[in-house]
């Protein structure tokens, strides 16, 4: 059940209606049932995997509550990690590693006959695996009290708004909201509705609108020009941002309607002027998860420069691999790790330099943002490409075919062409005001105009060809 569908609108309306009539306990049970229905709508068999994860982590955490011996605690944690990553590995990475190993052996003249599993990747497995892992790790670290309320814990794992594509919630943030009665405020409700509307605008008008243009070029193999690659990659940058942040907005909005507060996952990432800032703005729930559960345990930046770089690279490569079982995601992770490493000494140097002010500061900031946007776009080229050969050819063509303005990329639909400047305008307002709720301070006619413009362009965009959310495949 996609967020951008009539089915979801009906589903959410029914769930919300029931929710408003129920007590806290009833609400939680109903939300759990609704979440399983929501998830089972893709394929009910995938529910089994989620239930296994839920039961194991619930039991492990309860045992951790009473276990005192460090060895026993470590053993319990290992059970949780192995079970969760084992499921993830089997369903997401087995075929990738098996075929990669066979290819590697083939390069040395050894023929390996691996059996590949004919399995479908369960939707959202990467998201809920990380979410539930955060619970057992936090309990192990004694940062969080284990809960004995199984159904509440199950709801924390399966909560439908953020189940399939995040944000990856921390147990310390979401579980207390599940356990305690929630209050729905007027502000939450109106903000929730706005977030859902804005998320749909980003997904339907922009992400779906540019998808065909991007796909045409990236599926075209090697028969493209410099201008095709540049335009398709710019559009992909827009597509992936609007697709993913649109999903997060709808998730947050849906949760807000029921009094839940889900973490912000995007803070205007394309206004970043360096890679470090980018990862504080892009997919925040994943980057902070990787920081807290991978980068920091590896030693973070506390053991010298070389180890800091090693930890950065390890974290980003695994972060890349989290996105998908393919070598281009690994390469994208390497690229992200590399630019973080390259940027690190510059960031140190800049800290010591006197701050710029006035026009020169603005110009420098704008230039940095523009420059780093293009660095990010090159990363998206690695991310979107279908093969190493395509990456190599496209990269070469960016240089050898420089300035060739002949294009064969299809023009995005009219609604999308109107929607893009509207999005840029709204994101710029948010950046300047420093809050996503900037519009709340506008006078009623101005807010009315904003809502009307969003609604009108959204209606125009409803005839864009719908496409699946990109992050569902991760």
């Amino acid at each position: 059940m996609s967020f951008a569908s009539i089915q979801y609108a009906v589903f959410l309306t029914i769930v919300y209606g029931l929710y408003r009539m129920m007590s806290h306990r009833q609400q939680n049970l109903m939300l759990l049932a609704a979440s399983y229905i929501f998830y089972g709508a893709w394929d009910w068999r995938f529910l089994g995997l989620m239930l296994i994860s839920t039961v194991i982590d619930y039991a492990v955490a309860l045992r951790l509550r009473t276990a005192e011996a460090p060895r026993a605690r470590k053993g319990l944690l290992l059970v949780s990690i192995c079970a969760n990553l084992g499921l993830l590995g089997a369903f997401k990475y087995f075929n990738f590693f098996a075929s990669s190993l066979a290819d590697l052996a083939g390069a040395f003249g050894i023929t390996l006959h691996w059996t590949t599993l004919s399995i479908v990747l369960p939707v959202g497995i990467s998201f809920y695996t990380f979410q539930t892992l955060s619970y057992t790790i936090d309990v192990y670290r004694r940062k969080l009290e284990a809960t004995d309320r199984f159904f509440d814990f199950a709801l924390f794992v399966a909560f439908f708004p953020q189940l399939v594509a995040g944000p990856i919630e921390r147990a310390s943030h979401l579980l207390p909201q599940v356990l305690k009665p929630r209050t729905i405020t007027w502000d939450q409700s109106t903000r929730g509705v706005y977030l859902i509307a804005f998320g749909l605008f980003k997904k339907v008008v922009i992400a779906d609108g540019v998808a065909h243009s991007v796909d045409t070029i990236y599926n075209a193999g090697l028969n493209v020009t410099w201008a095709d690659i540049i335009l398709a990659t710019y559009l992909f940058a827009l597509q992936i941002y609007c697709d993913f942040s649109g999903y997060s907005d709808i998730a947050r909005g849906s949760a807000k309607l029921m009094g839940f507060d889900i973490m912000v996952n995007f803070r205007l990432p394309y206004f970043s002027s360096n890679p470090s800032e980018f990862w504080r703005r892009w997919h925040i729930s994943l980057s902070t998860w990787l920081r807290d559960y991978l980068y920091s345990p590896l030693g973070g930046n506390h053991h010298g420069t070389a180890k800091t770089y090693r930890n950065l690279m390890t974290t980003m490569v695994l972060g890349g691999l989290w996105h998908g079982a393919a070598w281009n995601f690994v390469l994208w992770g390497v690229f992200q790790g590399a630019i973080l490493c390259i940027h690190r000494p510059f960031a140190k140097g800049r800290k010591d330099a006197p701050p710029r002010t006035g026009l020169s500061a603005w110009v420098m900031q704008a230039a940095s943002v523009a420059f780093f946007f293009h660095v990010t776009c090159y990363g998206w080229l690695l991310f979107r490409a279908r093969s190493f050969e395509q990456i190599a050819v496209y990269t070469a063509r960016l240089v050898t075919d420089f300035g060739n303005l002949h294009t064969s990329i299809p023009m995005p639909p009219f609604a999308t062409l109107l929607g893009i400047p509207l999005l840029v305008l709204l994101d710029t307002c948010e950046y300047q005001k420093g809050t996503a709720q900037f519009y709340r301070h506008w006078v009623a006619p101005a807010r009315g105009l904003l809502y009307a413009a969003l609604a009108f362009v959204f209606l125009m965009g409803t005839s864009n060809e719908p496409s699946q959310f990109i992050y569902f495949q991760f």
């Binding site: 408003r20 405020t185 007027w186 075209a220 493209v224 064969s408 009623a444 009315g448 005839s463």
Partner: protein, 393 residues
């Protein structure tokens, strides 16, 4: 029941003020939406003259108008008040008198091409390549295979045709359960009609539409009884017919309603296409597939009986890779029908093969035409007896 935790909190200051502010903003939003609706109609009015070319924005906001309202604009009571598209594609042999009835050169080859613009383009390219060829073209915009076969059936046996070419367009297979381009192409309806074919006991049967020519359409539009008969036939037989999209209502005047209707039409179209085709190819289980194969067998049989070379042009347009080829090649091979599939000469995943409106570039058409010309010429050189032997083998 704990109502407190799920109620709107009363603890917030000035909740009534917030309510009032939000209500005001909502009312302003409604006002601006109304203003935008009116502005679209005033700023981008669709030209009243059916011969005038609307611009892209005018067309955009017109797409969602009901089919009946669009038809009223397209089809006037006279030829002068009818849009050019109104004349295209009618399966009326009287309209085809202007098409060549013999080869231009005494020893030339009359090649009949039945299809759509893709087929006409490649036919023209063959004729430019080899002046011995003269093309007799009968087609309609985005014509589905049932139109193409009906055109062939109506035209065959009357002229000294040496080669008959059926153009099959991958994206038009969805039209095999339609009776007219009015329903199949909601956004830009093509008024021509054609039959739906069914296979019963291995034989093809045609369900012809109640309207078969432009004059008949004109008179039906002016005669509610006749029009209703046609609409009822569409409702019964045409898979694309939907009263929500077809019937004119006063809401046609609203740009917002038109946009919503267009979105609904697109979702509906997508569902129909997905029942026939997914990303990996056409579905063997789709009801249109056996009909299409029966059409090809019927085509081969009648051509062979009349000493005409049957030829099929498989157009795998954008989004269809080699899917049409994979669907039909086994049937074409087993029936001994020569064919050319575009996926070899102009792969649909290479955008350089296409112009902006989705047709092939001139260079792509030339490559396809060379292949087609080669195949046809080789077939013309093969003695009839040898061909029969080959078929027997």
């Amino acid at each position: 029941m704990n109502r407190h935790n799920s109620s709107i909190s009363n603890s917030e200051p000035s909740i009534q003020t917030r309510l009032r502010t939000n209500a005001k903003a909502a009312l302003w939003a409604v006002f601006f939406l109304f203003l935008m609706d009116v502005s679209v109609n005033l700023l981008f009015p669709y030209p009243g003259d059916p011969h005038a070319m609307p611009n892209a924005v005018q067309r955009y906001f017109e797409y969602g108008r009901s089919t009946e309202a669009k038809l009223e604009r397209l089809i006037g009571p006279t030829d002068e008040t009818t849009a050019p598209i109104g004349f295209a594609g009618w399966l009326n042999p009287d309209d085809w008198a202007s098409q060549p009835q013999a080869p231009a050169q005494p020893d030339g080859i009359l090649m009949a091409v039945y299809g759509m613009s893709f087929a006409a383009d490649v036919g023209n390219a063959v004729c430019e390549m080899d002046p011995r060829f003269t093309m007799r073209f009968i087609g309609g915009p985005s014509a589905p295979p049932n139109f193409v076969y009906a055109a062939y059936e109506l035209d065959r046996g009357k002229y000294p045709i040496k080669v008959a070419v059926l153009g099959i367009l991958a994206s038009s297979l969805r039209g095999m359960d339609t009776l007219t381009g009015i329903t199949m192409n909601f956004e830009q309806p093509y008024p021509f009609t054609y039959p739906i074919y069914r296979v019963q006991g291995g034989a093809l049967y045609a369900e012809w539409p109640a309207i078969r020519s432009l004059p008949e359409l004109r008179s039906a539009l002016a005669d509610p009884v006749r029009w209703n008969t046609f609409v009822e036939q569409l409702a019964t037989h045409d898979r694309y017919y939907s009263p929500l999209l077809f019937e004119r209502t006063p809401l046609d005047h609203s740009a917002i309603v038109r946009m919503a209707r267009r979105a609904w039409a697109q979702r509906r179209d997508l569902q129909i296409v997905e029942s026939l085709h997914d990303g990996s190819g056409f579905k063997e289980s789709a009801p249109a597939v056996p009909v299409l194969r029966a059409i090809l067998r019927g085509f081969a049989k009648s051509c062979t009986a009349e000493g005409v070379i049957p030829f099929v042009y498989l157009v795998n347009d954008r989004g269809y890779s080699d899917h049409l080829y994979r669907l039909l090649a086994p049937t074409l091979d087993s029936e001994g029908i020569n064919y050319v599939s575009t996926h070899i000469y102009a792969p649909s995943d290479n955008p350089a093969n296409f112009i902006g409106d989705g047709h092939f570039t001139e260079a792509a058409n030339t490559r396809i035409a060379e292949a087609m010309h080669g195949e046809i010429f080789a077939e013309l050189q093969t003695p009839l007896a040898e061909k029969r032997d080959l078929l027997r083998e």
